[in-house]
Structures are given as structure tokens and as C-alpha cells.
Symmetry: C2
Subunit: 380 residues, 2 copies
């Protein structure tokens, strides 16, 4: 698979953004997070792991985006299609990009500046510096009117191909779990080894892995691994968000350590049944809430929610992004949306199983990106 | 190595925070980022990779911290020493923790609420929700007066032991680089395989890796890997930030692919000489700026800076944190500070070598956490 995108992909994103900006009356978009900056530039580095330097991208009402970034990133940004790259030597305790950002914004627009302020967003810069920027701007700052969330929610075929590739890598790693997991192996070793399998199968890196192994179901799906050895009767769950070329997969698999009890086998089958019910209605025009209810009817009898909070979500440049499968989210599905179906079921008080698949919405039936699991659990 | 810390470690952190809060006139601290929340709780999960849910910790003027978190995290937070855990079912489009956070803050203090607003900080929640919280607070919100940065800058012996362990894991992985890197191997394969080595040697996960391989020096130190095969005459650089039990190492190694040219060998020796010069003066009482100048004299003849921005930084719960080795940072070194020494040298226009070591400051000579490299490069 070729890395990156053709330039027309970025040109299309930019054009779509500028149309929405015009409708919203915005003179510029100010972006500060990794996925938002990468969305328009293709700028891909793990250096965002360091919190020490802010990075900015400005999308003007017309013309190409302008990068306002630390000089350490100039060479890499120059490899992208962006050509207006303004830099400062960060960190600078006196002025860490504040005046450069302010001046650049002032030179590009006298209209309102929009920045993401809604669900799932944050501003990746110190609040103190943000106050200084706002004080120096001629323009007013307001919410981006949901433009970034809207743009990123529908994936292009090239983006879907990248997510599919990440899902394929994870599928090959999941198929090798019997090589690394057995009775007596500490869960922490399985946790490390599964990341190794993801890398061997082609992941660039593995930003997310959760796992659990416990008798008859597990307590949560967000814990790192303990050193407790796998035991007969455990359900082993591995939930991975690996990345290839900047796009995530996010799905899990449950393995029975030894033959599962009838209760566990039945609970797992119900999860698959819930996925089937969601897939049956996952069409353009269906809402996120309808998918929730289709699954919730099967896993809880229709209680309307759980402490996990949702039964699936959008997926793409981030592990989770965009819509949530919850009763209150009435987002209408559109072709090109990539979502996870993630029903959970209680197996005993404080114990559960969770199954997750990745699909995308088309003009017809949804397509699986993860290999559709069968009702029968894989036995280790 | 035992995971986590004894409870008295957290009690000490809390007591120190509350003393500083009293001096600063703060009625509560509001924290929203992974390391700040973990600093007082030990709450460790990779689930922060998902941007969908905000998490909060409140440190009151007296008494234990209070967690205000999504219900999906309650079971894991209950494993820590925190016992006041208030939850909501996130995501909630109508009220995503806003009223719970506001009410909790109002119940805990009528004094000023401090939150990190300075260098290296950000607020991990939507700006729109932040405005709603502020509107509902009885108390005024202001900067945390640098309390979090101050607390985290000096590590306890237990923290240093964890960083040392991460450095040891990386050392074992670096020692195995000859197993994975040779002429003809694509850099992207080395990049994946080195992460695998880190995991095999005991890393929990590998949040950061940069690498480069090029003739006579490389363009930058933040790029991910290309598919270009290693060639004789290349310098291969691997810079890793792996994690064990929530603490990072951050250092690199340079390898000569085939015998290095005299020019490259000499440049590498100068980097080691620069590290030596910094180590010679890295004592309690020395400033960050003095360490910078000691190295800068050797690598540039004293030009006073480069586009990389700094010649080292603090290290701990994050890949980079705290002080910067730059001319403008006059932070005074104290025993317990863990820093990297990271001089870079230009080998040709647009090409460089960077070497990095991790040390900590004591009452006497600094101690190396990474295995001190010799002037001679390792030849592959």
C-alpha cells in the first residue's frame, strides 16, 4: 500500500472546508491537534508525544493552509504539499509562538476565527498563551461550527483503504494469538507479545491495547495487563488500536482458555447476534441511536444504556472519533462513515464480555473491515 | 520491579501540593491530563488514547483527591487509593460531565480554583464545556501558579527507579540492534523490529520512536521511517521513548552502517565530548542554561542555539517535561531532577547527528540512567 495520499485528496478536503467556512461566516480555521493538522497536511510524526511544543495550522478562507510550527518540524513539514511554513525556535519561555501565531492570523483574516470547541475537541496549547493570542487578534474567535468533526466523519475511499489495511494487520495478529497465549502465561506477557505480533504483521505502531483475562468475564475493557497467569476457564480479551500510515483499527476478540462454560458461550453468541442486528439496519439514513437500540435490545433486553456509555463509535485518524452509539446521538449514517459495533453483555455482577467489529457504511449493505467473527469462541 | 507505588508516595505528593496551594491561595486544583491525574492517583490506562471522554481530578485544600470521571473508568479508579469517585455516563451530548464537575468544585471550595495554564500544559476538555464550567463556578479560576510543574520536576527515589528500569530495557534493545539492522534492510522494517525488541526486553508499550538512516547524517530526528533500505555509509539513528509502569526513558543511539567516515566519526566523538562537558557541571545549583552553553560551545562553537530548539529536557511520566536546555531557561538543578543531554551537531548543510543520554541530579556527581556511550560508534 502506498503511503500518504495523492495531493488531490488534500485539495478536496481543503475545498470542502472552505465551502463550509464560507457558509459559517468564518475567515479562518485555527487547528492545534495532531489529527486536525494532519487532516489537511499529511504531516505524520510521533513527535506529538512530547507535550513541550504547540503546533498550529491555519486554514484561510481561500488558498492553501499555513503552518505555524516549531522549527524542529520544518524539514518534515516541507515534505508535505504545504509551502507556507512559518517557524519559531520552540520552546521559547518569552514567546512560544504566540506573536507568530497572532501576526499570521491577523495577516490572513479580519473575519471570525473558528477553532474546534465542541465534543471531543481540545485546544493543544497553554491557556495562558491562548489568552495572549486572543488579546492580540483583530478578529473574534468562536467555535468552528462543527466543521472539523463534520469533515472527518465521512471517509474517502483512500482513507477507508487505509483503515481496512490496519484491520487486516490486526486480523493476522489475532489469528496468531494461540502462539502466545495459554494456561500459565502471565497476562502481561500476552499483552507485550500481542503488540509484537501486530508489529510483525505490519503495524507501524500500537498506540492502544487493552486486555483482560478472568473467569467467566472481565471487570472492564480499559485496564493494562496484570502479571496474573491465564487459567482454565478464563476469557481472554484483546482490544487493539494499531496504526498503519496514520489510520487506526479498533476491534477486539475474546478467546476461551479451555472450553468455555455454556454461560460464557451463550453470552458470546448474544454479542454476535447483537452485531448482526446492527448490521441488518446499518444503512445510509439509519441513526446512531437506532444502531444502539438494535444491539441494546439483545444485550440488556432494552435497558437503554450501561456504564460503558456506548455500544460503538466512529473510527479513523483516531482510535475513537465522531458519533457514539448511544440513545441520545441521532447522527444519520452516510456512505463513507466508518464505525465500530461494540456491544457488551453482563455475565455476572461486575463481570462482562465485550465484542467489537469495524464496518463502513455504503450505499447498500455495510461492509466489514474486521473479519466478521462467528458465534463460537476460539478456544485456546 | 513492583508495579505502582506505596500509598505513602501519593500521600507525600498530596501533602506537598496542599502546602504549595496554601501558599498560592488556592482552594482547589483542577487537573485534566493523563500525567497530572496519574501523579496523584496512580490511575494508569492507555484509554486516554481515545479523545472522546474528559477526565478530571480535583485536589482540595485538605483531604484526598476527588475523581470526576466517566463511569467506564470507575472500576479501574477504584483499584487506586482514591475513594471519592464521582461518575457520569460519558459521552453525554447534553451534559458531558459539566454539571458534575461544576457541582463537585462548588462543594469542595469557595476559594480560587487553580489549573495548569503555563508552559507545556493544556486543558483536556472542549473549550465550549470549559466556558460552561466557569460560568457555573462560585470560585474564580486562575493559573495553578506552576504547582504541578514544580512538583513533577523533582522525582522521588521510587520514580527514578522506574525511569532507570525503562532505560535498562532500552539498553538491552539497543544492544540487539545488530540483529535487526544491516545493509539492504528497509528502514521501516528496522523501525518496527526495534519496537518489537523493546517489547521483548520488557517495555509495556512504546509510545515514541523516531529513526533515520542517511549518508553522513540525517535531516531531522522526528520523522517516522521510510521504506528506503540501509546503505553502507549511512548513519542509523534510533531514538526511543518506551514506557514501563508509566515512566519513560528517552535516549538515542547512532550506528555506523559499515565503517564511518572520519568526518562522521569525529562528529560523533564531539557529541560525546559535549555530553562529558555537561556532565562535568551537572550538579545541584547549576542552571539549565549553563548545561546548554557547556554543550553548545563544543557542538557549534557557541552560536547559542539551533532549530532543534534545545539540547535536552526533563523526563519522567512524559517523554519530555519540565526544564529545557536553552539559553533562556535559568531553572536551577536540584537533586532528583531527571534530564536528558541531547546535543546535536551539523555534519553538512541540512544534515546532522544527535546523541542523547538520560541522567539524574544528585547531591554529588550526576548518575547515568542510560548506559554512557563511548566516543566510538557501534559499526553494523
Amino acid at each position: 500500500m502506498q503511503r500518504g495520499f495523492e495531493q488531490h485528496e488534500y485539495e478536496g478536503r481543503l475545498k470542502a472546508a472552505q465551502t463550509l467556512m464560507q457558509n459559517a461566516g468564518l475567515g479562518a480555521l485555527l487547528l492545534s491537534t495532531e489529527p486536525d493538522v494532519r487532516y489537511f497536511t499529511g504531516y505524520l510524526t510521533r513527535f506529538w508525544e512530547s507535550p513541550s511544543r504547540p503546533w498550529f495550522l491555519i486554514v484561510p478562507a481561500s488558498g492553501k493552509p499555513v503552518a505555524v510550527i516549531p522549527s524542529i518540524g520544518a524539514a518534515l513539514m516541507a515534505q508535505t504539499w504545504i509551502d507556507d511554513i512559518r517557524t519559531w525556535r520552540a520552546p521559547d519561555p518569552q514567546d512560544d509562538g504566540v506573536s507568530l501565531l497572532t501576526d499570521t492570523l491577523n495577516s490572513l483574516t479580519s473575519g471570525a476565527v473558528g477553532t474546534p470547541m465542541g465534543y471531543e475537541s481540545h485546544l493543544r496549547m497553554p491557556l495562558g498563551d491562548w489568552a495572549r493570542v486572543q488579546a492580540g487578534l483583530r478578529a473574534r474567535v468562536r467555535d468552528d461550527a462543527g466543521i472539523m468533526a463534520r469533515l472527518r466523519s465521512v471517509k474517502s475511499p483512500a482513507e477507508i483503504a487505509k483503515i481496512a489495511n490496519s484491520c487486516d494487520i490486526a486480523a493476522r495478529a489475532f489469528a496468531r494469538v494461540p502462539q502466545i497465549a495459554d494456561v500459565g502465561v502471565p497476562l502481561s506477557k500476552v499483552f507485550r507479545d500481542f503488540q509484537r505480533l501486530c508489529l510483525e504483521e505490519g503495524a507501524d505502531w500500537v498506540p492502544y491495547l487493552a486486555c483482560a483475562s478472568a473467569q467467566g468475564g472481565y471487570r472492564d475493557v480499559i485496564s493494562p495487563a496484570s502479571d496474573v497467569p491465564l487459567a482454565a476457564g478464563d476469557v481472554l480479551m484483546l482490544d487493539t488500536g494499531l496504526v498503519h500510515d496514520g489510520y487506526f483499527c479498533d476491534y477486539d476478540r475474546n478467546f476461551a482458555v479451555g472450553a468455555p462454560t455454556a454461560h460464557v458461550a451463550s453470552a458470546h453468541a448474544r454479542l454476535i447476534e447483537a452485531v448482526d442486528a446492527a448490521v441488518d439496519i446499518a444503512r445510509a439514513g439509519t441513526t446512531a441511536a437506532q444502531l444502539f437500540h438494535a444491539m441494546d435490545r439483545i444485550v440488556t433486553g432494552g435497558q437503554g444504556g450501561s456504564d460503558a456509555g456506548r455500544l460503538g463509535h466512529g473510527l479513523g485518524m483516531q482510535l475513537t472519533e465522531g458519533l457514539s452509539l448511544i440513545p441520545q446521538d441521532h447522527t444519520v449514517l452516510e456512505p463513507g462513515m466508518v464505525i465500530t459495533l461494540e456491544p457488551g453483555i453482563e455475565t455476572a455482577p461486575g463481570k462482562m464480555l465485550v465484542h467489537e467489529e469495524d464496518i463502513f457504511i455504503t450505499n447498500g449493505e455495510p461492509r466489514f473491515l474486521s473479519p466478521r467473527a462467528s458465534a463460537a469462541m476460539v478456544v485456546l
